[in-house]
């Protein structure tokens, strides 16, 4: 189609030029250039995949993947992880049963658990939710990034995407949208129970749980971090929240308002309906004692967040972290499997190559 058009055009162009077209001139004009590209003779590397050439690659992949896999698997196994499912414990079950949004008195419950092994180095404390569709489309888009970035215009009139969490009492909601509205608001506290029975609160650090770029660039309070009360004047708190956004962490102005790290962590919507989010970090102690020695612990939960309606589950996870992250045997196993398969295929191909490869070559050369 294209070429025909093109040619038609060429012919048209030729009409006036057709006069006095000498024979010799035509020869010169029409002779194609003898360049490697135009003659399709560019120098080229012409590899072909045969058993012979692929064999070494398979063995190499096998030899590289299996050690990596073993390394990953061992690392993953060395990571200590403990998961506490709070609802199974009676007091918390009661809390979940009797929950209502507008109860003023928070329901608290405590979950005892014990560590069989001491947790060395930094320990990361996660809360986990299951059956919670943070990746639902209506939910994912229900936010206003420019509002969260400190844009004053968006603060006063949030994006339409935030509906139905856009305005309340004809005042704009800050932060607007379903994600912000459903901020996880349970409070978790961890106590170590000494062998003598006394409870020691374990210091939980709430800084460094959000991406650095999120905290410093993507999320910003409108008009700096001072006087948040003034800035957020004329806005309304999200309907499900107990307190306003500027009251999230009054003790620390660098962790208040939109740049509250718990809030930022929540705002990064999870990929799958069962997810965990970083809650606190327990830094290792300067001396040689383990961060969490083995023994009995109590998890104190201020139960604010309802999950029963959608058959959700809440969990608390304590985990140490290596260079490859938390406990996940998948990668190690996958590497070992793929490595072995490659190795095995290598052997199969070797047999094929020896049995059939030579035959092919000789047959061709003879013919």
């Amino acid at each position: 189609m294209m070429a025909s058009n093109y040619n038609a055009k060429e012919e048209d162009g030729h009409q006036p030029a057709a006069i006095g077209h000498g024979g010799a001139g035509t020869v010169k004009n029409k002779k194609p250039d003898n360049t490697a590209f135009k003659q399709q003779r560019l120098p080229a590397w012409q590899p072909i995949l045969t058993a012979g050439t692929v064999l070494p690659a398979f063995f190499v992949i096998g030899l590289i993947f299996i050690p990596i896999g073993i390394g990953l698997f061992v690392t993953s196994n060395n990571i200590k992880e403990l998961e506490v499912t709070s609802q199974l414990i009676v007091p918390c079950y009661n809390c979940s049963q009797s929950y209502s949004w507008n109860s003023t008195k928070p329901c608290t419950c405590s979950v005892p658990f014990s560590l069989d092994q001491p947790f060395e180095s930094n320990v990361f404390m996660y809360y986990g939710l299951s059956n919670f569709y943070q990746n639902h489309r209506r939910y994912v888009k229900s936010r206003d990034d420019s509002q969260l970035n400190g844009d004053k215009a968006s603060l006063k009139s949030p994006s339409k995407e935030c509906e139905p969490y856009r305005t309340s009492d004809e005042k704009p909601i800050a932060p607007c949208g379903a994600i912000a509205n459903s901020l996880f608001n349970d409070t978790l506290e961890l106590y170590y129970i000494d062998p003598n029975g006394s409870r020691t609160a374990i210091p939980l650090v709430k800084k460094g749980i959000a991406w650095w770029t999120d905290k410093h660039v993507k999320f910003r309070n409108p008009g700096g971090n001072d006087n948040l009360t003034v800035v957020f004047q004329g806005t309304s708190k999200p309907v499900n929240w107990r307190k306003s956004v500027y009251e999230l962490d009054p003790s620390d102005p660098d962790n208040n308002g939109f740049i509250n790290e718990d809030f930022i962590v929540w705002m990064r919507t999870a990929a799958l309906p069962t997810f965990r989010k970083l809650y606190r970090i327990i830094h290792k102690k300067p001396n040689m004692t383990p961060t969490l020695p083995l023994g009995r612990y109590i998890l104190e939960v201020t139960y604010n967040y309802p999950v029963r309606s959608f058959e959700g589950r809440k969990r608390m996870i304590l985990s140490t972290i290596s260079w490859m992250g938390g406990k996940n045997p998948f990668l190690g196993i996958a590497y070992i499997t793929v490595g072995s398969v490659c190795f095995f295929l290598g052997i199969v191909l070797l047999i094929i190559h020896h049995k059939y490869g030579n035959r092919n070559h000789s047959a061709d050369i003879r013919s």
Partner: protein, 1122 residues
């Protein structure tokens, strides 16, 4: 006004736009278009709407427009940009291209429309712009000027009222043609004269046939107050066509009759019907499959969504409430919107860019044919020409080749070999030297005394050949056409004719002592053996046509005798001969035909004055007719050309084209069946077939000719033949099993036109006869070569059509050089024209034009093969990469509550097909060479590997689709297990859904690009640049896209996502792992198939690789094995 007929389709043109004298007829000024040529499609104003309309008429563009509109209207998961931008891109690129082409056309049009012409007005010459010319204007054309419109020649500067014209730019024939001025206006030779001319021309309304024209000129003269009118018929010999150029004539006066878009040239610019390639058909079939997949995917998801949402807590959990308007919507509307939203989400499975890429590939790829040095012909100065790039890949699929003989297989460069007068053979000395004429022992040579009456008939024969032709003598100047130097006493001159046979004959006569000098004042001058100039008055020329297969002239000698000389094919002359040595001549003709020579018979008839006058009357009345003139002329010719006295016969050799035999052999080895379709007689054609190795010595010839059907009934002959063939066929299949198939007989079939039409004739009365076609096809299929002789042009097309519509629907290719091949070229799947000597009509109507027959070999075996593997990989790969792209999104719906949440960011969705993965495949499809072209040329059997659209069969398509699905599953679940409730950063922080999508996408882009890299057999630096470059581009783009808070976006979801992902070790490890897993099965499949069930192609690849890597070693092993 005796023959006033009421024509509806005629126009009356008043020369000089002057009113006719009162009383002649009513002057009705008619409206005609001006002489503006508009080859452009658009104007400045209508470009945008018209172009858009045309583009959206294409089904794919329309589909994407619908998707785009759906995205605009309903609340969809992806922003309208994702489909709007690619669509906009595609539309804009196409529009710019078409706009540019149209601009060029405008420019060319303007150049033509504004070029000055000289118009004669009121006795003065006025310069005018060409576009202002009107019908009826008298114009003055000078030498070497191009005619601005279709003109009737009124007078010329030559005293005989002729002018010479070359129509090179119209039909490519560079020979000079003679046109004649109207007899009665010949005398008007100054501008003032035309002021006094009062005449009108009645002619048919414009029609595209370049060679047909009928009209009548009425000249009014007002002599002595007596009003009288002369009529004079006008024919195509008076009509000068726009685009032709005046040559060898100082100036002419002519009147415009068709202007502007009504000229025959403009009418001929209509495009031909579009041919579709087999690949395109498979592509459309695949598209339908994918459309079904798309719809079923959307349906499944919609249904599952509503099943899943049945629980209100899942539909609307407390954290994710709907708006009131959403709640109030009717469930059916919601379901329908959801269905549409899913369609939009998955719409990329039908790739918008595939059409663009395929089109670009075809368009750019066709340049390789034009650029090919090996398909350039030094002699002609021509290179291969691509008229449509739509069929590039079809060149690799050809199963039947239908070739013309003359000018295609043979040079059409005639050489006079001998003539035979009354059984005596004359051979020009130049040829006779040292050559013994085989079979001539029984005949006498020239030096033997021809007998008393022989001398006379010999000279008559030579004169006949010198007179009965339409050759022109061209002095000094060189021309592109046939160059034959006649070194006379004076300047160098050449014989020029549209028929090379005639030149060869006149040339041969010169060597035998009779030289044709020129045509002057209707007198033909001949220099005879005694160096005397003989003059014959040329009275009538009964021109050659392919139906009569003969031509005649009527001349008057100086002694006042009227002769009718006729030359033509033996079959058309012998029935009309009443005396002469028919038997001897017939024997010689047959002998020559077997030798592969072209024979013509020459006869004459002496006319009395009365007979001549009757002839004139017959001819004139036929010529005067405005309707059915051709039929009337043919009838007249038939009446005139009879009662001949046979003079003798000539033999002209048409040499085989360079490497014709080699080419045919290669084509046959490549599995193509070669049929020769020719208008020539059987013996000549068969000889050519033997010479070109179409038939071998071992070939058993089956004849299906009139001769045989005269003896037996057609029915019996057909059944006999089919029995013979089928017996052989069945024993052959048995032989293949027993491994003895090597030396089976192959068959060659010869059929002639008359028998063919009997075979093809649909007969109602007998049902058993209806099967003739099938029996005939069955016989043909089992013959390795078929020769069809005595074919009319239309029969050639019929044969092609017959094979095309046979049950296997084979791909046919027709190749020819002459106007008689055009119908077959247009009919076949691929039509190839040879830029031959019989004009350019075939080349103009073809899909591809090549200078010589031998170029067909490279065209098919190399270019066709390459284009086919390139485009099939392109098509398969496009579907594959889009399945791999979209299927993870489909899987993700199961994990996000069927909420149409896209997995990838908008930018990725948009750019995946446009920039991340587009260039490598485009480049691959342009320069991939799985085997070196030298090997492809050397080993034609490789062509069989791709026969029958083998790379686009359903199993292969399904394999690619499953590969895509497998890869998608690997990407998705690999990432899923990595993300499932676990951390994979070293600082304990978590990743969100966008990181998940980015991980899948990164693996996807790398996998599909590397998959292409694995398929690439020809790595030039460009491949390296494009493949690694596009991966690098993806990485750089992702870094940039996530590196900045983009102020114009209302979301910042990708901010630092890519960079954060790369900062995590396990992400790297899993990217590598997933790429390896995705590529593994394909590699294993390839390697194992190659080792266990190698195709010929793969064997050759290995072998050539082996030799190229270790040439010495290979040589040594070769020696060992031998």
């Amino acid at each position: 006004m005796e023959c006033k007929e009421n024509w509806v389709d005629t126009r009356t043109v008043y020369i000089g736009n002057k009113e006719p004298p009162p009383g002649a007829e009513a002057y009705i000024p008619q409206r005609y278009p001006d002489n503006r040529i508009i080859s452009s499609k658009y104007t400045f104003w209508n470009f945008v709407p018209k172009n858009l309309f045309e583009q959206f008429r294409r089904i794919a563009n329309f589909y994407f427009l619908i998707i785009f509109l759906v995205q605009l209207i309903i609340d969809t998961p992806t922003s309208p940009i994702t489909s709007g931008l690619p669509l906009f891109f595609v539309i804009t690129v196409t529009a710019i291209k078409q706009g540019y082409e149209d601009w060029l056309r405008h420019k060319a049009d303007n150049a033509i429309n504004q070029c000055p012409v000289h118009e004669v007005q009121h006795g003065k010459v006025i310069r005018k712009q060409s576009r202002k010319l009107r019908v009826g204007d008298v114009v003055l054309i000078k030498e070497d000027e191009t005619f601005p419109c279709d003109l009737i020649l009124l007078s010329t500067s030559r005293e005989d009222g002729t002018c010479f014209v070359t129509t090179a730019s119209l039909d490519g024939e560079s020979s000079h043609k003679t046109y004649y001025a109207v007899q009665d206006t010949k005398a008007f030779i100054t501008e003032e004269d035309f002021d006094t001319l009062q005449a009108s021309i009645e002619c048919e309304q414009p029609q595209p046939d370049l060679y047909k024209f009928v009209g009548r000129i009425n000249i009014y003269s007002d002599r002595n107050d007596v009003f009288c009118v002369f009529f004079r018929p006008l024919g195509s010999e008076n009509l000068l066509l726009r685009g032709a150029t005046l040559k060898n004539t100082q100036h002419i006066y002519a009147v415009a009759i068709y202007t502007g878009m009504e000229t025959k040239m403009a009418l001929n610019y209509q495009s031909k019907s579009q041919k579709r390639s087999a690949v395109e058909k498979s592509m459309n079939a695949y598209l339908i499959v994918y459309l079904c997949i798309l719809i079923s995917k959307a349906l499944i998801n919609t249904v599952l969504k509503y099943v899943w949402q049945a629980d209100p807590d899942k539909d609307e959990p407390f954290y994710n409430q709907k708006t009131d308007t959403e709640r109030q919507r009717h469930i059916l509307i919601r379901a329908f919107t959801d269905f549409l939203a899913f369609m939009v989400l998955f719409n990329y499975i039908i790739p918008v860019s595939m059409y663009v890429t395929v089109e670009m590939q075809k368009f750019l790829g066709s340049y390789f044919i034009m650029w090919d040095d090996e398909m350039f012909d030094e002699e002609l100065g021509e290179r291969a020409q691509v008229n449509t790039s739509d069929l590039n890949e079809e060149l690799g699929q050809v199963e039947y080749v239908f070739t013309d003989k003359t000018g295609t297989l043979t040079e059409n460069n005639m050489e006079f070999i001998e003539c035979c007068v009354d059984g005596y053979v004359y051979v020009p000395d130049a040829i006779c030297n040292g050559q013994v004429m085989p079979g001539s022992t029984s005949m006498d040579m020239i030096d033997s005394s021809p007998g008393p009456g022989g001398r006379e008939s010999e000279e008559l024969f030579f004169r006949a050949l010198c007179l009965c032709h339409t050759v022109q003598v061209k002095e000094e100047e060189t021309v592109d056409g046939i160059k034959m130097g006649i070194h006379q006493n004076k300047a160098t001159s050449f014989y020029i004719s549209s028929s090379p046979d005639e030149v060869a004959l006149v040339e041969g006569m010169k060597r035998l002592g009779f030289t044709y000098l020129r045509l002057k004042d209707s007198h033909m001058e001949i220099l005879n053996r005694e160096d005397e100039v003989e003059r014959f008055e040329l009275l009538e020329v009964l021109t050659f046509d392919s139906v009569r297969r003969r031509m005649s002239v009527i001349v008057r000698s100086t002694t006042g005798e009227y002769y009718l000389f006729c030359k033509g094919a033996d079959s058309s002359i012998f029935p009309r001969v009443i005396s002469g040595k028919v038997e001897q001549v017939k024997a010689r003709v047959e002998h020559n035909a077997v030798e592969g020579l072209r024979t013509l018979c020459v006869a004459y008839r002496k006319l009395s004055v009365a007979q001549y006058e009757e002839t004139c009357h017959l001819l004139n009345s036929a010529k005067l007719a405005l309707q059915d003139r051709d039929r009337k002329l043919a009838e007249a010719y038939d009446l005139i050309e009879k009662d001949f006295v046979l003079l003798g016969a000539t033999a002209v050799e048409d040499r085989l084209q360079d490497k014709a035999a080699d080419t045919i052999e290669s084509l046959q080895k490549a599995g193509m069946k070669v049929w020769v379709l020719t208008g020539d007689k059987m013996e000549t054609a068969a000889a050519t077939c033997y010479a070109s190795k179409l038939f071998r010595r071992s070939t058993q010839i089956l004849e299906l000719t009139t001769k045989r059907t005269e003896e037996q009934s057609l029915h019996d002959v057909l059944f006999d033949l089919s029995k013979t063939v089928l017996r052989q066929h069945s024993s052959m299949t048995r032989d293949t099993f027993s491994g003895l198939s090597a030396d089976c007989v192959d068959y060659g079939l010869i059929i002639d036109g008359a028998t063919l039409s009997a075979v093809l004739k649909p007969s109602q009365e007998d049902s058993s006869q209806g099967n003739y076609k099938e029996i005939f096809l069955e016989i043909c299929r089992n013959c390795s070569a078929v020769l069809c002789c005595r074919m009319a042009p239309l029969q050639k097309a019929q044969i092609v059509k017959l094979i095309k519509s046979s049950p296997e629907h084979p791909i046919t290719l027709a190749i020819g050089d002459g106007a008689n091949d055009v119908s077959m070229i247009l009919e076949a799947h691929v039509g190839i024209g040879i830029m031959g000597k019989e004009g350019r009509q075939a080349a103009r109507n073809s899909d591809y034009a090549i200078p010589k027959f031998k170029h067909l070999k490279k065209m098919l075996l190399v270019h066709g093969h390459y284009y086919y593997i390139r485009i099939s990989e392109l098509v398969q790969y496009f579907f594959y990469k889009n399945v791999a792209f979209i299927f993870p999104q489909f899987l993700y719906q199961f994990f996000c509550g069927f909420s149409q949440q896209p997995l990838y960011d908008t930018a990725y969705l948009t750019l995946y097909n446009i920039s991340f993965t587009s260039l490598p495949i485009l480049l691959f499809s342009l320069i991939e060479q799985h085997i070196n072209m030298d090997i492809l040329k050397k080993d034609p059997s490789l062509y069989r590997d791709i026969a029958k659209n083998s790379l686009l069969r359903w199993p292969i398509f399904i394999y690619w689709t499953f590969l895509g699905v497998f890869d998608a599953i690997v990407f998705f679940f690999g990432s899923y297990f990595l993300f499932n409730n676990s951390t994979f950063t070293s600082n304990g922080q978590m990743f969100g859904n966008w990181t998940f999508g980015t991980l899948v996408f990164t693996v996807l882009v790398f996998t599909v690009t590397l998959k292409l890299a694995l398929d690439t057999h020809y790595w030039t630096w460009i491949n390296h640049f494009v493949i690694w470059g596009s991966l690098l581009f993806f990485v750089i783009f992702s870094l940039l896209w996530g590196g900045i808070i983009w102020p114009f976006l209302n979301y910042q979801r990708m901010y630092y996502v890519f960079i954060q992902m790369l900062s995590s070790g396990p992400a790297w490890l899993s990217i590598i792992l997933l790429i390896v897993i995705s590529l593994l099965p394909d590699v294993v499949k390839k390697v194992v198939c190659r080792a266990l069930w190698p195709t010929t192609t793969e064997r050759i690849q290995v072998a050539s690789h082996f030799t190229s890597v270790t040439p010495l070693l290979a040589k040594r092993t070769k020696v060992l094995f031998e």
